[in-house]
Symmetry: C2
Subunit: 431 residues, 2 copies
């Protein structure tokens, strides 16, 4: 008889249900590949109906209170799929670690907020802590960064990390429809939450970016270090102008190591249509890394959803069963290095700006004068006829400039009487 | 003091030199990430100058005879970077395994020819056997398939696995030049060997495909099961017609699981220009997998070269140091299943064919009649003016047909007096 590895799972929502199904359907495969029988012994959910719908065997104990499950269930690993940075998920995590239980989670918010503390606890208690599902469910990127690329110093890690945003931006481009229009359709289809802020304001991408940044650069988890922009301000006009200029707009999490520090940020970018990541559309995610030995690598897969996320959770369970653990942040806590944060104001890059200006003489001259004073040089310009508001869209791209100068120029331009709306600025990344 | 993990390396060619450099340059990083000091203790190469050029420390023992190194050197793992399916590489491998030494290699030919035997030996002696560098050096695909996607039944694995072929096909497309012309340039630049057959006839891709197939489908390594076509017969005309029809030509290794067996093959394909893999150009490799839970995933990176391959070798060394071993073919040998091979004759797919026909009446009617008799239906046709030989290129694509019917029709067409040359057939894959 093969050894049994016991799994207790808290949270039978979409992902939890997927993990239960995977453990049922792939029992034979997992036994062969892990050399152990991975067995679900307990589940917990506030809603008992969820357990009933999953047709669990009688040998799986059900608990309405996940805390009780942790106390009573026989388990070699606890799986937390409740979600949320704090609350019950965090409480379960702390008590599991304090009891010396191996722990697996898909909870990026919790790791982004408490990762350093959890890393210390996991190390103190010598337990396995897996979170492959926390970043880009369908892409085994945590394992790739920590193990596959172990011999590399990583200089860059960036990616499309939120399927909802990528779906919205893709649909806007394909249909020419407005942001609001596409968002409400995405909500109807279940691709966006009723309260979409977590996704479309870049918060989810920020959680994932700070996790990737920590693993890539050997630094603590530091959510506060990120500047975060979402996609709410992107208009159908920007999407159309991007196409005309040879770009696509993607929301990216971007981590870069410089000589004097690291920058970690989330913002929508104009990327060349020839960039490989420009073709990662819809609900797909992509992560790109630059390592000093391996060079350029790209990983693409589904970002979320019941089955891809379950695949990632089960990869962690298999690692736990086979005792293939690593410290939570890859290296022992004493080896984690505080790294200075390079702010976006220091960015040297190209920019796209859409001004909405009054249709009157001298406007371009005024704007160009202010840009010139700030040493921001215009690379290209498009001007079109009046839009519905009676304003004229004026599109400019800037040659490589310092972001602080661009921001200063735009603040000044915004004050002009002939520029009634706030200019829309999108960074260009030549990836 | 951290524990020391001792490495002995045979073969100081391009990859061997890269591994030595990586172990020197990243000593600090590896110590942090592995918790052990990875130390090169011995190297072997027929040419002592190679060792001298690498400025090895005095503590590294040099052996001209790798066999002697295996006998005498203190080592926790033996790295074989000599290459070749048989000969000294194979001899070293057998003696290392028989001595119970952990073993790491980049030698795809050896695994493709002797993988099953080596898997038995490695299991018998309970040693670590790593070969991440054997397939797509810059892509940690072996680890991804075995660990990251552990919870999935894989239905498809395919990829661009040979950088030389991908470089040649990319250059032919970008410059419009002939195969021979681009090949000889690639040889001058060091992207192709003096004897290029191993790459351009698809043998290297076949080695990698049978390894990926075994890992994806849980079957033995079986190089004989593959049908292998290279790219020698692709002309600049085919490249141009592919563009016109909305395709790109790529040499792919393709593994598919059907209800009644598995097919593993290597052939150049026409793939839609919209397929993501169509944009993987030059010396880059890509591997795509379809898993029943994770869905579609793609992995892209450099396929070969000193530094990317060294990155893969060192990932294996780290796994050996951290005792993260798996059976050579992922599952224990008794779990490996013989799977029936579905031959290419059974393929149901679309096809591109270029006929060179005499410029005379009735030719198209003749060809169309034969195709119709074999139930092969024409999807599109392009006919152009005479080429230099005075023949007329006639391009056809076929709707989904059984390959056996297509082959039978082409054999008959080839016998026609008005078709002086062998038709050129390229499979279309809607990836």
């Amino acid at each position: 008889m093969a050894e049994v590895f016991k799994v207790a799972l808290a949270g039978l929502g979409t992902v939890g249900g997927g993990v239960v199904k995977l453990l049922q359907e792939q029992k034979d495969v997992l036994l062969k590949r892990c050399g152990k029988m991975i067995e679900l012994t307990a589940v917990a959910d506030l809603n008992p109906d969820r357990a009933k719908e999953l047709n669990l065997s009688d040998r799986v104990a059900f608990y309405q209170d996940a805390r009780e499950m942790i106390e009573k269930a026989q388990a070699d690993v606890i799986i937390e799929l409740i979600g949320g940075a704090n609350g019950i998920a965090y409480e379960l995590c702390l008590s599991s670690l304090n009891k010396g239980k191996n722990f697996v989670t898909a909870n990026k918010a919790m790791i982004a907020h408490h990762g350093n503390e959890l890393a210390r606890l996991a190390e103190e208690h010598g337990v396995f802590f897996g979170y492959e599902a926390a970043v880009a469910g369908g892409i085994p990127i945590i394992k790739a960064l920590r193990e596959g690329l172990v011999g590399n110093r990583i200089s860059e890690v960036y990616g499309i990390l939120n399927g909802t945003c990528n779906y919205i931006l893709t649909m806007m481009r394909e249909t020419g429809r407005s942001f609001d229009d596409v968002l409400s359709e995405a909500q109807k289809l279940g691709y966006a939450e009723a309260d979409p802020s977590f996704d479309i304001d870049g918060i989810d991408t920020a959680h994932k970016t700070c996790i990737l940044g920590s693993l890539a650069f050997g630094m603590p988890i530091d959510l506060q270090a990120l500047s975060v922009e979402g996609i709410r301000f992107i208009t159908d006009a920007d999407i159309a102008f991007a196409e005309e200029l040879g770009f696509r707009i993607k929301l990216l999490g971007v981590g870069r190591r410089y000589d004097d520090g690291v920058s970690l940020n989330v913002y929508p970018c104009m990327i060349p249509q020839t960039a490989e990541i420009a073709h990662v559309d819809g609900v797909f995610n992509a992560v790109i890394t630059e390592g000093d030995f391996v060079g350029h690598s790209m990983f693409v897969g589904r970002g979320a959803g019941e089955r891809p996320t379950a695949s990632a959770v089960v990869a962690d369970i298999a690692d736990a069963a086979m005792q293939r653990g690593l410290p939570l942040l890859t290296v022992a806590n004493k080896e984690i290095e505080q790294v200075p944060v390079v702010s976006l104001a220091e960015r040297e890059g190209e920019y796209y700006v859409r001004f909405e200006v009054k249709d009157q003489p001298g406007v371009v001259a005024e704007i160009a004068r202010i840009l010139g004073n700030k040493k921001v040089s215009i690379a290209s310009m498009i001007q079109r006829g009046q839009n519905q508001k009676g304003n004229v869209p004026l599109i400019m791209t800037f040659h490589k400039s310092k972001e602080a100068s661009v921001t200063a120029a735009l603040t000044e331009i915004e004050r002009l009487e002939c520029v009634p709306d706030k200019p829309c600025m999108i960074r260009i990344e030549r990836l």
